[in-house]
Amino acid sequence: MHLSTNTIIIGAVVILVLARLAWRLMHRGRPAEGKPRVRRPTKHRWLRSVTSLTVASTKMYFRNRSAVFFTLFLPLAFIGIFGLLSKSSTPAMKLDVTNHSSAELSKNVVSALKQVGAFNITETSESSAREQLSKGKIDLQVIIPADFGSINAKTHQFETSNIITHYNAANPGTGQTANLILGQILAKFNDSVTRTPQIINLQSSGVKTNNLGEIDFLLPGILGMTIMQLGIFSVAFAFVSMKTTGMLRRIQATPTHPVNFVLAQAITRLLIGILDVVMLVGLGVWIFGFHMVGNFAEFMLFGVIGTIVFLAFGFAVAGYAKDENSAAPIANLLSFPMLLLSGVFFPADGFPSWLKDVTSHFPLTYLVDALRSIANLGTPITQLTGDLVGLLVWGVVMFFVAVRLFRWE
């Protein structure tokens, strides 16, 4: 967590430049009067139609203030507010550690924990820690059992042992993050203590940093939420309004196939989705100390797939709804449960298992899980096939639903 004055100034300048660019895009009319655009006749009529429709819908998008606000500015504001809040009010995660073991290894673990900048470690008794936890004074209680670090008389190696943690249920986000960091530190210990891989029961592959904070939990969640809103709302409303005002019919009066128009709408949203990923991750890393541990290309891939899946949702709503009044409730009905239950702002760990069984199959859950795993833990895409398949199944199903429900008028 390092926020120097320089980074703030540079960040502010970048935001101003971006805002200026966006403003120019939003500004009406063409920049230069005079010479008409000269266009060579092309054989690729289809390509020309789709390109032109895409350019037009991108211009419309950037000139539509509420669309820009909800899909570009609001997520930034979210990150900004949460990023600043998590820095100023919770400088460190509070951990109470009770060490029942007298082994050298346990002392090393405790001192390693004390060196983690994000941790505020207090050594205390188990009962006092429990009391502190129940009062919400600490984020995580760590208990090192008496047999920790003991050596097996026969093999002369360390016995496998469990460290027990309890986190504050009222503030699970921080507790979870602390747990994650703890897990990584222990994994390193496992690595250093023994070379026999059987005893390593926590994965540490590709982990470059162990300083995960609140922003690392929130940013992928907010990005997932933004992608969902982008797909469902921005498509549903733009498309339905074009349907009700007759703009769609005007396009149908030209030799362009209306599917080209749908395609252009989708391409525009995909571009905005990519812009969202770049912008949030870029500013997150730059200004708020977000950690992109894993492969950014894989992170982006999930962002793009997520956008496509939620576009299918959006087109299903847009195609089915007759007007804005019927589109709004359907779009809300689809997105609201996901917003609350897919682990965007807080983890789903506290839910009863029957509810978890349902929410773990939400498309937003798959998306946010994958984004978080890649960014926080550096999980390679090959280990995220569950999320990938989940998203793709949703995408295919919603595509067919959209085609089935679609009405041009």
Binding site: R30, P36, P41, T42, K59, M60, N64, G246, A253, T256
Partner: protein, 252 residues
């Protein structure tokens, strides 16, 4: 006689049991202004949209410039210009940007400024459609139909809701378009408009054409049947008074 550009034979449209258009036949010659008149719900718009390839034809044929609309709707749309009754355009795009877009949709390269000059909207080139007056919107809508240099344009109630000045201005525009050799097929509620603009008209009621001919011929037929106006028509109308008092200048 000029050759027929548009040949409609026994065109029908049914929605379930309801027959909106009950066998309409007519032809339009090249360079003509042809008007379809009739009360609301007579089937004017449905007929027009079937001819334009915007609505599936239940039975009958429509041939434009030698192309069967039902078989080659896209080829037909390349050759005609369509103004729909509810004309809406993408929001947040300027007139020039919209015309550029239409250029691309037709794979054409008309000069947007030239088109805007033709409809007297050159100074509004950077405006949005939502900032135009009713008459300007209709004129812009007509400009979009001219992008592909069409053989015929279809105008569905182009003057409905316009004030007398704007309506007269649009008549001038239609006359100009006709002068350039473009065939115009339009629908209207206004008899005066039909009389001024149309070379020939068809009157529709309840899905059928009940009369067809030149305005003068139809009037003569009526008089021939012994029709007497309820009262003698004054040599001027109230609209003449209105135009005389408020002037011909456009108010938008």
């Amino acid at each position: 006689m000029a050759e027929a550009l548009l040949e409609i034979k026994n065109l029908r449209k049914s929605y379930g049991d309801f027959e909106a258009v009950k066998g309409v036949s007519f032809s339009v010659k090249k360079g003509e202004v042809f008007g379809i008149l009739g009360p609301n719900g007579a089937g004017k718009t449905t007929t027009l949209e079937m001819i334009e390839g915007m609505r599936p034809i239940t039975s009958g044929t429509a041939v434009i410039d030698g192309l069967d609309v039902a078989k080659q709707p896209y080829a037909v749309k390349e050759r005609i210009g369509i103004q729909l009754q509810a004309s809406a355009f993408f929001p947040n795009l300027s007139l020039v940007e919209l015309l550029d877009l239409f250029n691309d949709l037709y794979a054409e390269s008309s000069d947007p400024m030239q088109l805007l000059k033709e409809v007297e909207l050159a100074e509004k080139a950077r405006s949005m459609v939502k900032d135009l007056s009713g008459g300007q919107k209709q004129r812009f809508s007509i400009a979009t139909t001219l992008v592909n240099k069409p053989v015929a344009i279809f105008l569905d109630e182009p003057t409905t809701g316009l004030d007398p000045q704007a309506r007269r201005n649009l008549w001038d525009l239609v006359a100009q378009i006709k002068k350039k050799g473009t065939t115009v097929i339009l629908t209207t509620h206004y008899m005066e408009e039909a009389q001024v603009l149309c070379d020939r008209i068809a009157i529709m009621d309840q899905g059928k054409i009940i009369a067809e001919g030149t305005p003068t011929a139809l009037i003569n037929q009526l008089l021939g049947r012994g029709f007497k106006p309820k009262r003698t028509v004054a040599p001027a109308t109230l609209e003449d008074v209105f135009i005389d008092l408020t002037g011909k200048a456009l108010r938008d």
